[in-house]
């Protein structure tokens, strides 16, 4: 009889001993709190949230499998976030860093956000140290490369971006335990970038697409900005804001939540200006309230929709 091979009864017994309570593991990693926070804090983005839950569940199960001694290759965690500006890519990347940290896939959980300028040098021999420096800073955390497609400039074959790409790829492959790379940018341009750099596509496990916000979602976002800053909109301002969002979307350089944040900041400026001009005694109510005229004064309302 082969003594090395356990009998069926033994297998059942050991497996029973080693059964892992996923709930307990979830509680231990406090992952649920993070996911709930994500759900609560971020408006809309349903497909993104679903993907993140999927990834979190997968990583949790991988952890459980590890504890049971079920060996599998360390999961690739590099990701690509595609979507229009202002759809929450950076914010989600920050959350992702803490999720990965809680699940023990990165050691520190910080996010290093860079663009082409931080990686690519200006003269020959300048790029490699620069890229390596950034990579070293990102180790133990997440490296977030915004507008990653700028790294690759097919029109200039002497471009140093290629050098940065090669170093990145090498580290993404060999030091998967040390850092997670998230590439972000517009969907179409990322697609061409991946098409011309197949090395990247194959090393990225999760492609997450960020949809544009609907007008209602943008309104909710504006409200949450106001709430955070202890402001509120008067009923007339509500209407103005709804109209503003509809008009702003049709204009150029619309950047989803970022446009809304800027609009809110400018409305605050106008409110302050209005209060100062009126002068006299202001009460708490007046200091808090943004009126319709603060929003209606925006350039968005004067420009014709082209």
């Amino acid at each position: 009889m082969n003594m090395d091979r356990p009998t069926a009864a033994e297998i059942i017994e050991t497996e029973a001993q080693q059964a892992i309570d996923l709930k307990a593991l979830r509680a231990e990693t406090e992952i649920d709190a993070l996911l709930e926070e994500l759900d609560r804090d971020l408006v809309g983005l349903a497909p993104v949230k679903r993907r993140i839950r999927e990834i979190a569940a997968f990583l949790l199960v991988t952890r459980a499998r590890e504890r049971m001694g079920l060996q599998s290759e360390a999961p690739t965690l590099h990701m690509a976030f595609t979507g229009n500006p202002g759809t929450g890519k950076t914010t989600v990347a920050l959350r992702m860093a803490s999720i990965l940290h809680r699940l023990g896939y990165i050691r520190k959980g910080h996010l290093v956000s860079v663009t082409r300028d931080d990686l690519v040098g200006q003269f020959i021999g300048h790029t490699a140290p620069k890229t390596k420096d950034v990579l070293k800073r990102a180790m133990g955390g997440v490296l977030f490369i915004d507008e990653a497609y700028y790294l690759y400039r097919p029109e200039n074959e002497k471009d140093y971006g290629q050098e940065a790409i090669e170093i990145l790829l090498q580290v993404m492959e060999n030091q998967r335990d040390d850092l997670v790379v998230i590439l972000a940018g517009y969907k179409e341009r990322m697609d061409t970038f991946f098409a011309s750099n197949p090395g990247f596509r194959s090393r990225i496990a999760h492609h997450i697409d960020f949809p544009d916000y609907s007008n209602e979602e943008l309104f909710t976002i504006a409200e949450s900005f106001a709430r955070e800053g202890h402001y509120r909109f008067s009923p007339a301002a509500h209407e103005a804001l709804v109209a503003y969002i509809a008009r702003r979307r049709a204009q150029s350089n619309f950047a989803n939540a970022r446009s809304i944040r800027n609009a809110f900041d400018r409305a605050r400026l106008r409110q302050a200006q209005r209060l100062c001009e009126t002068g006299g005694v202001v009460d708490r109510e007046a200091l808090q309230t943004i009126e319709a005229e603060d929003i209606r004064a925006s350039r968005v309302f004067s420009e014709t929709i082209s």
């Binding site: 990579l135 800073r137 180790m139 133990g140």
Partner: protein, 143 residues
């Protein structure tokens, strides 16, 4: 003769894991970690060659380990040390320093006596390795 400079030099050589934990300690304290190498191991040779610049803003030892490995590959027969520099007010000094690589064979030091005025004797030590030119020390004659 085993060179004993810096921390832990009376202990067996640190493993990479132990080195990484020492580096993590430095980073947690907010010190800038640097890698240096030399093949002139005289105790008064305080300025070793810098392997790149000191590393600021690091959070995790993995980045330093990359540099240590690169330095070892480039200088397989040199002494390599890792320093943790505390830039905070009052300290502004290297607060941690330990050797992470030493040559396989360390020939040790010669003690030289110089006769001075009267019957005084001056002593000085000289690493045997420095008899050879830089870059050929500790290599058994091979470059």
């Amino acid at each position: 003769m085993r060179v004993t400079q810096g921390a832990f030099s009376f202990l067996p050589d640190l493993t990479d894991e132990q080195i990484a934990r020492q580096v993590a300690y430095c980073l947690d304290k907010g010190w800038a970690v640097s890698v240096e190498f030399t093949d002139d191991i005289h105790p008064r040779n305080t300025y070793w060659e810098m392997w790149g610049q000191p590393m600021f803003d690091l959070r995790d030892p993995a980045g330093v380990m990359v540099e240590i490995r690169a330095c070892r590959d480039a200088n397989p027969n040199a002494y390599i040390r890792v320093n943790g520099f505390d830039s905070s007010r009052f300290w502004e000094a290297v607060r941690h320093s330990f050797i992470v690589q030493r040559p396989k064979y360390e020939p040790g030091f010669a003690l030289e006596r110089t006769k001075g005025k009267g019957r005084t004797t001056h002593y000085q030590i000289r690493p045997y390795a420095t008899e050879r030119p830089e870059g050929e020390r500790y290599t058994n004659g091979k470059r």
